[in-house]
């Protein structure tokens, strides 16, 4: 279980508890947090769960997979701290994680 904070582009902030084994995307979509879409249901196949990981959490969240890299490459306004939220799995180690959401998902 971990508390994950999602900060939308406009500033709206939501902190929710997400159970272990769920992805950061699933946590948001489950609670209908606006700004993450997750169209493909977590298959690293649509890049609509694009998030910016807070610098303090980059080490803990790990690195992009090859498939994730391929999909992110086509997303809008990708930064070095960009990730696909469906590829970040929640555990106690991520308790307090902060992610920022892009202006829109495409």
């Amino acid at each position: 279980m971990a508390t994950i904070t999602y900060i939308a582009a406009g500033g709206d902030t939501h902190s929710i508890d997400v159970a272990d084994g769920y992805s950061v995307m699933e946590g948001a979509v489950d609670k209908r947090i606006a700004g993450i879409d997750g169209d493909c249901g977590g298959n690293c196949a649509c890049a609509t769960c694009h998030v910016y990981v807070d610098p303090a959490w980059i080490a803990a969240t790990g690195v992009r997979s090859e498939g994730e890299e391929a999909m992110l490459d086509l997303a809008e306004d990708v930064q070095p701290n960009s990730r696909l939220a469906c590829q970040i799995m929640v555990s106690a180690a991520l308790d307090g994680l902060v992610v920022r959401l892009p202006v829109s998902q495409h």
């Binding site: 249901g41 196949a45 391929a70 490459d73 495409h106």
Partner: protein, 433 residues
């Protein structure tokens, strides 16, 4: 066309098993009686008559990775389950989209007239070209386009006849999407129906009577290239604009592209933005008429437009399939696909797979995860215009509901004879006075 029986209340009444469709009962009998190996889903007649459903049902159940040795366009594999389609779509390293291997339709691209377009390319070239075009649908652009689309839609709807029958496809679906495309290209307004002409020629099956023959088709596409070359020449030395032609002409990645590559990408954008949205605009009206309970719910709560739009796109599946070519031997669903084999992902089937979607044959306008459908594809080739398509549909329904509680479909649709473009040629409707 299915008609709702009096007293029927559930959307599931209009599924392909509806007794109001005796032609489907016949098709089901044939689908299950014939040898599995003989099933060839590339037959356009199955789509023209809307009787493909039981064949896909059988394939999903009995041969989810199915080899057709004697397809009308040659041998190929049919992938019919949602999960398997997702697996193929996301594995671009093994399943190639390259034009030179045949491209992305079940029928191979004509080797004498290959149209290089980024949908039919693999990385790295695919990525470079896609990124040159994707700014057209950036968030800021979508906001601006939404304003324009709404103006166009309002003008079209303000001029529709009330109390008389007309063709929805021609007056609304084609008109609106053509105008949208003309805007994206900054195409000379008076000539915009040329875009429809070129799009239809690009996708028509030339083996069917009534469609342009191969040489006629090539001539029409050369006409398209000639016209757009003129636009290119006008804009390449002008300051960069926000239209697609200007973007291609100014972006370093694309400004030196060969004429056939330019034509290929134009055709991609015209087809991608044209028939697909057109057929979803028609489909939505048909589905609401076939499911009056859903139409009632929509009327009572227009906020349902948001979840209805992706459901329309799922239910219509404007492109019935996408095809790949295997670059290596690969195992899928217990079968061995060989290097060089043609692999067809049947989006129209995956979108009705009960293993992935609850009550998939029902048209339900408030699903919990309405965007979990295959119509835009998945993976690196996922439709770059998907949000633009949704915006158009959203606006269509917002403007309709502001004006009329009901638009009645008054006769059966005539469907396109194609195993690729799943659409409508005509749909007679009437807006009650």
């Amino acid at each position: 066309m299915a008609t709702l029986a009096a007293g029927a209340a559930s959307p599931a009444d209009l599924s392909p098993t509806d007794p109001a469709r005796p032609d489907l009962a016949e098709a089901r009998a044939r689908a299950y009686a014939m040898p599995l190996a003989d099933i060839d889903m590339t037959d356009p007649e199955l789509f023209r008559t809307d009787t493909h459903w039981p064949y896909f049902e059988r394939l999903r159940a009995e041969a989810p990775v199915h080899y057709c040795a004697n397809g009308r366009f040659g041998p190929f594999w049919s992938i019919t389950r949602y999960a398997d389609i997702m697996a193929v779509d996301t594995n671009h390293a093994v399943f190639s989209s390259e034009a030179i291997l045949g491209g992305i339709t079940a029928r191979n691209q004509d080797p004498e007239f290959i149209l290089p377009m980024f949908i039919a390319m693999d990385p790295p070239k695919h990525d470079i070209q896609r990124k040159a075009v994707s700014p057209i649908v950036s968030p800021q652009n979508l906001v601006a386009l939404e304003v324009l689309i709404r103006e166009r839609a309002q003008a079209i709807f303000d001029n529709l006849p009330v109390g008389e029958t007309f063709d929805w496809v021609d007056r609304v679906s084609i008109e609106l999407t053509t105008q949208m495309l003309a805007t994206l290209f900054d195409f000379p307004w008076a000539d915009r129906r040329l875009l429809t002409r070129w799009s239809d020629a690009a996708t028509a099956d030339d083996t069917l009577p009534g469609n342009p023959t191969k040489p006629e088709r090539q001539a029409i596409l050369i006409e398209c290239l000639t016209y757009f070359t003129r636009l290119w020449n006008e804009r390449v030395n002008a300051p960069a604009g926000n239209d697609l032609v200007s973007m291609l002409a100014h972006n370093p990645a694309t400004r030196d592209m060969a004429p056939m590559e330019y034509l290929g990408n134009l055709i991609l954008l015209i087809v991608g933005g044209n028939d697909t949205t057109r057929n979803s605009i028609t489909g939505g009206l048909l589905f609401l008429n076939d499911n009056p309970h859903e139409y009632d719910r929509l009327r009572a709560d227009p906020a349902l437009i948001e979840t209805m739009v992706p459901e329309i796109i799922r239910y219509q599946t404007p492109l019935a399939h996408m095809r790949r070519t295997a670059l290596a031997d690969v195992e899928l669903g217990g079968q061995t696909i060989r290097k060089g084999d043609r692999v067809v992902m049947w989006y129209v089937s995956g979108n009705r797979d009960e293993r992935a979607i609850d009550r998939p044959d029902a048209f339900v306008i408030d699903r919990a995860r309405p965007r979990q459908h295959l119509s835009f594809g998945f993976g690196i080739h996922r439709c770059v215009g998907n949000r633009l398509a949704e915006i158009q549909l959203k606006i269509v329904w917002e403007e309709i509901l502001k004006r009329w509680p009901r638009i009645d479909v008054v006769g059966p649709p005539r469907r396109v004879a194609s195993a690729f473009v799943k659409g409508y040629e005509t749909l007679p409707v009437r807006i009650p006075a």
